[in-house]
Amino acid sequence: MTGVLPITLEESRKIVQALLYSGKEYVCVMKLHGNITKSNVEKVLKEFEDTIYQRPPLRASVKRQLRTRKIYYIDFLEMEGRNALFKVGCEGGTYIRKLCFDIGEVLGCGAHMQELRRTRAGPFIENENIVTLHDVAYSFMEWQQQKDEKILRKFIQPMEKALALVPKIYIRDSAVDAVCHGANLTAPGVLSLETGINNGSMAAVFTLKGESVALARASASTEEILNMEHGVVAKTERVLMPRGTYPKCWKSGEA
């Protein structure tokens, strides 16, 4: 299996949870165990463009209980003999090996996954700033020798890139340090926010400079937050920015 594998360095490991649940896209070669017409394969693939049930395979790193996963799209690409090539966009945690097996069952002839390449993991895609392990080694050495920061900024992306698909809430400088200390985000601190936030959904708290402050669980929708004057709008779940980056602007209870 090859393809997009986001690598999180040091502090950015904190956003792994956001990446794990993000959607994925794969290009897959499926080997059919019988002779099936192209149109039949195309038809059956489309039937899987739905919410499907999967039990994680024997060799899996999660509990083996039946679970549902969304298949956003399956596009048939081409066929050569008994090899069928398709592209699939799916929810994180979908087992493509299982998917191929199940497609084979519906086709009646059986099938297995022959080859797999991940073309997307959340916001990271195959043809945008992708580097091989060799590129990493070479670029790092080149950067150390030439001290040209352009090299560094080319093969490493800021961790904010990993949060590109998470709806954002931009906050005032004066609200930043409280959130860094784990405080929940309240309405007066909010400057702007993206559409599509719902009560209970994950949101990313950002500064006006575009720095990530924390991952939070929204306690109201975008529309509700826009009209709120006080009260908690999001519960801080994972602080990403170190304390003291911005000045402390709140008064402690006693003093």
Binding site: V4, L5, A162
Partner: protein, 78 residues
């Protein structure tokens, strides 16, 4: 039944609630972080080759970049 929309197909709009400015003395625009900090708050979009596991690849990156902790976003195990 219409198919579900993939997360990357969702178009979001930014709605403004209040206006304010940010003080340039604090923090950094992510792209302008000082080199060492940039690295510690960085992510690599790696093209994994066949063979090594995702875990092994992460360990190699850690050694190459001489960092203490490196992780990966989702095992590429299918």
């Amino acid at each position: 039944m219409p198919r579900s929309i993939a997360p990357w197909e969702i178009k979001r709009k930014l709605l403004v609630k209040a206006e304010d400015k940010t003080n340039p003395r604090y923090g950094h625009i992510p792209e302008d972080r000082p080199a060492e900090e940039y690295m510690r708050y960085g992510v690599i979009n790696l093209d994994k080759t066949a063979g090594p596991t995702s875990h092994e690849v992460a360990a190699w990156v850690k050694r190459i970049l001489n960092l203490r902790q490196v992780g990966h976003g989702g095992t590429l195990e299918a």
